[in-house]
Amino acid sequence: MSTEKPLPVIDHDSAPYWQAAHEGRLDIPLCGDCGKHHFYPRAICPHCHSDNLKFDTVSGRGEVHTFTIARRPAGPAFADNVPYVVALIELEEGPRMMSRIQTDDPEKVHIGAKVEVTFVKATDEITFPYFRMT
């Protein structure tokens, strides 16, 4: 298996999201009909199936909905990172997104912990929205 960290294969649905992250914003789709945000970005709203969608800059605040401390890496690419915390973040605006918690002390992470987004540059094209506890 590759020791190169996997990068997102960006498509037309996700391009504005990744572009915004690269510019330091968390932009996710907002439905003009039902008024709900969703994640991951789609061409139709998964709540009401409208295609009246636009990207909206959200607060970047939320809480840990659930998480795992990876004691074994997801392949050799992540071997240097263990232990690391992969977490499902519930944003204030409602949607959940998978991410990483940036922390020196994985044991401190808990469900319900308040977090905010922090942008971590991976390559010249890709920046990941990670989260840290506030």
């Binding site: 498509d11 991951y40 997801a74 992969v86 499902l88 998978m98 990941f128």
Partner: protein, 390 residues
């Protein structure tokens, strides 16, 4: 009311494995063909009688495995006129039983063959961590999500948070399942296991330990279905397919609607039990997918054997072990018998054997009705089958 076209299981076979690896030297398709032949011959049929072919697998992708029924039909040298390559993960074979049952009732096929084969252990190819980061996975894989264990760990963490479930509760499942494996000469892991052993095994993805996780083995299995009428002339005693249901909710674990509640199992179980006209107290033996200990806990709650959140109490005190009140995963399960990637086939084989009454030391006395529930993906899909001694 009984009907001559009611679907029944009349044949089965599984490939011998030793230390988790195939004993016979053959390709992954070769093993599929060998169990297919054995299963039809057990029933007194031949492969030429097969007009319905159902399979799902992970071999040959990209390549011939993308059209799995087509490739398998070619290898077997048959021309099926009803095919189903439904792949919803490890629960695919429970869904295949449902689909074959409908085709048999409709008169669309007469003899349906359901097959699975994997040589993942021999090939050392268990490689789900490399799920390409395309489409929904572009929002998961790059964060280093250990797959599939990480998703199950997140569900376990959430269940613990909401309901106070403990690692000891989960370990009870692994220990009870091992006791069944000790009664099954074909099971891979038969050494004694205690709750402390599970809790002190390597932490993989918190809160799941190594011994909360299923085995990685080779394996191949096949099931033959036909109508009750056709079964009268065959060699085996048929097992009736009385009810079935299926559902799925997500691929990416982040999209699971409720991480502490297995909605596909709830939906599929309700549908299957209603169709079969059975209630929980009618079920004599339960075979549910145990990819991880948490999978079992979530499944038992969703199927309604206990209330949501009470799964930890339900499995306490070795309730699911041999001699316990709730005989479950009687071959030793994916945790201790075998787990060749998509395990659902082997749930069906064990349930059918229990209803045939051929399980020797692990036979559940008086087993007449069995519930089989497969889970696939990352708690993504569920399919239930109710089987009954005819």
């Amino acid at each position: 009311m009984k009907n001559g076209r009611d679907p029944v299981i009349v044949g089965l076979a599984d490939a011998p494995i030793e230390d988790g690896k195939f004993v016979t030297k053959a390709s992954v398709l070769g093993h599929a063909a060998l169990v297919a032949k054995a299963a039809v011959e057990e029933a007194g049929l031949t492969l030429d009688d097969v007009d319905g072919l159902l399979t799902a697998g992970m071999w040959g992708v990209p390549g011939p495995g993308q059209l799995a029924t087509v490739t398998l039909g070619e290898y077997l040298g048959i021309m099926p006129t009803y095919v189903d390559g439904t792949n919803i993960g490890g629960s695919a074979f429970e869904a295949h039983v449902a689909h074959a049952a409908m085709a048999l009732r409709e008169g669309y096929c007469e003899v349906a063959l359901i097959v699975y084969s994997s040589d993942q252990k021999s090939l050392r190819s268990r490689n789900l961590g490399g799920r390409p980061s395309v489409l929904s996975m572009q929002h998961e894989t790059p964060y280093g999500m250990p797959t599939p264990v990480g998703g199950y760990a997140m569900a376990a963490q959430r269940h613990m948070h909401e309901y106070g479930t403990t690692s000891e509760n989960l370990a009870e499942i692994a220990v009870a399942t091992r006791k069944w494996a000790q009664l099954n000469p074909a099971a891979t892991r038969r050494d004694p296991l205690s709750v402390d052993d599970v809790l002190s095994s390597t932490m993989i993805s918190e809160p799941l330990h190594l011994l909360d996780c299923c085995l990685v083995t080779d394996g191949a299995g096949a099931i033959v279905m036909t109508t009750a009428e056709r079964a009268r002339d065959l060699k085996t005693k048929p097992v009736a397919v009385k009810g079935y249901g299926e559902a799925h909710t997500h691929w990416a674990i982040g999209e699971m609607p409720d991480l502490a509640r297995l909605l596909p199992a709830q939906k599929a179980g309700e549908t299957a039990m209603k169709m079969a006209g059975v209630s929980h107290s009618d079920i004599d033996v339960v075979e549910v997918y145990d990819s991880f200990t948490i999978t079992v806990l979530l499944t038992l709650e969703a199927l309604g054997f206990c209330k949501i959140g009470e799964g930890g109490d339900f499995v306490s005190g070795q309730r699911t072990a041999p001699g316990g009140a709730f005989p479950m995963n009687t071959n030793g399960g994916g945790l201790s018998a075998l787990h060749p990637g998509m395990y659902g086939m082997f749930l069906l084989i064990e349930a059918t054997r229990q209803l045939r009454g051929v399980c020797g030391d692990r036979q559940v006395a008086g087993a007449e009705t069995a519930l089989v529930h497969g889970t696939g993906g990352t708690l993504s899909s569920g399919a239930t089958v109710i089987l009954q001694k005819d």
